[in-house]
């Protein structure tokens, strides 16, 4: 039996208060109240009294790993992690952006998260479809079990079956909607480059104006940069104000990487990201 959101929230408050009081961490990344119950916000607790403001409900979808890279190295941080968040943390540890010993991971086994924009349940259609954190120090609640195991890549079948011309038209239509607000890259826990390649002015990879070719360049290159790193949290698609289904492309790339290199992103701390790694016996078949 999974814990209710309220139970998890209470445990999260207690744990955060304890950690801040004992000085084990200086920052707790969790969720706080937004302008209404359906719109909670990421919340940064720094004082034990701040812990009372922490909330956790089905709309707390934001990936808190996003905020880790903002802190100077060595800051002791406790971060509340759902399944995808924990994978993002692992991936960040693999990429040496954060250190495991600086982090305390408060696992949140959450089932039934909802998209606050549409009210839809978030499942393997748009995310990795895991409900239990992969890595944690304290699990705040009971593990979720008994849910049907669905491959997060099932949703791709329909698009893979498409004729390539139709698929190009589909993506062109989607990318043409882009207004280049960069919410996708800013919401992404793995997009921490400064400056982003698209902001470079020499060479200029894409124009600043939202035209088809620049949009295509931006999105395709971003998918490439996230190959083998995207942990399929779906934040990019939820952040998008014009609803581009970026998760589909990320899923496809992740699927291919998993098939080619036999490693899913953000599952084990000791892994190396697949594209900064190689095996001498990688097959040339992958290039076909």
């Amino acid at each position: 039996m999974a814990s209710s959101f309220k139970q998890i929230e209470d445990k999260l408050k207690t744990e955060a208060k304890k950690l801040l009081k004992t000085g084990q961490v200086s920052v707790v990344l969790a969720y706080g109240k937004g302008y209404d119950d359906n719109h909670p916000m990421p919340y940064i607790a720094k004082l034990p009294s701040d812990a009372d403001n922490i909330v956790f409900n089905e709309y707390c979808t934001h990936n808190l790993a996003r905020y880790l890279v903002r802190y100077p190295k060595g800051t002791k941080i406790a971060v509340a992690v759902k399944a995808a968040d924990s994978r993002a943390v692992i991936q960040l540890i693999q990429e040496e952006k954060v250190k495991r010993e600086d982090l305390i991971l408060l696992g949140l086994p959450a089932y039934g998260m909802k998209n606050s924009k549409t009210g839809e349940i978030i499942d393997s259609q748009t995310t990795c479809g895991l409900y239990n954190p992969v890595l944690y120090d304290t699990l705040l609640g009971e593990e979720v079990h008994g849910q049907p195991v669905v491959s997060p890549y099932d949703v791709l079948a329909q698009y893979e079956a498409m004729d390539k011309d139709a698929r190009f038209e589909f993506w062109k239509k989607e990318f043409d909607k882009c207004i280049r607000c960069y919410a996708c890259r800013k919401a992404c826990p793995m997009c921490y480059c400064d400056p982003c390649f698209i902001d470079q002015n020499n060479p200029r990879w894409g124009e600043k104006s939202p035209q088809s070719h620049g949009n295509l360049m931006y999105h395709l290159t971003r998918f490439h940069h996230l190959a083998g790193r995207c942990i399929d949290c779906g934040e990019c698609s939820r952040a998008c104000p014009v609803d581009i289904p970026l998760y589909l492309f990320h899923k496809k790339v992740a699927k291919e990487c998993e098939e080619m290199f036999g490693q899913a992103s953000g599952m084990r701390i000791d892994d190396k990201p697949v594209l900064v790694n190689f095996r001498v016996d990688d097959s040339d078949k992958i290039l076909e």
């Binding site: 390539k164 139709a166 993506w171 295509l216 490439h224 190959a227 790339v253 594209l275 001498v280």
Partner: protein
């Protein structure tokens, strides 16, 4: 008039580019559709180069590197192999014909093979016709 594709070749300095030289000095005949850019290693190739080439009107892109294990920098082409494999999958899912992009390992001594690959690839791209999906209209 038959369609003459524009093909961008990106060749590693140590193997494929030298192989191309050999093909030239041995007077091998192969199509002239390929324009070669030399890079120091196949792992120097940024995937954006390939996207940009298609945007700027390339009908095909051919990448040439040393055979795995023969890299002048020991491991460069092993990274490149993985990276370019991903590039190919991305091109495919975005809807462009993946056959327009090809990676070949051609060593400095394989002038013959270089000519063969170029001939074959040019023919393949010719079959596919002009690339219009990524190309920016003027």
């Amino acid at each position: 008039m038959s369609f003459e594709p524009k093909i961008l070749g990106i060749a590693c300095n140590w193997c494929t580019y030298t192989g191309a030289d050999l093909a030239g000095t041995t007077r091998l005949q192969y199509p002239q559709n390929l324009r070669v850019v030399r890079v120091m290693c196949s792992s120097r190739i940024n995937p954006s180069f390939i996207f940009r080439a298609f945007q700027l009107g390339a009908d095909g892109v051919l990448v040439g590197g040393c055979h795995p294990g023969d890299c002048h920098y020991n491991t460069g082409n092993l990274y490149a192999r993985r990276r370019l494999a991903v590039t190919k999958k991305i091109l495919e899912f975005s809807g462009i014909e993946p056959e327009r992009f090809r990676v070949e390992w051609i060593s400095a001594s394989e002038g013959n093979r270089y000519a063969e690959v170029v001939t074959e690839f040019t023919e393949q791209v010719k079959q596919l016709g002009p690339q219009t999906k990524f190309k920016i209209s003027r």
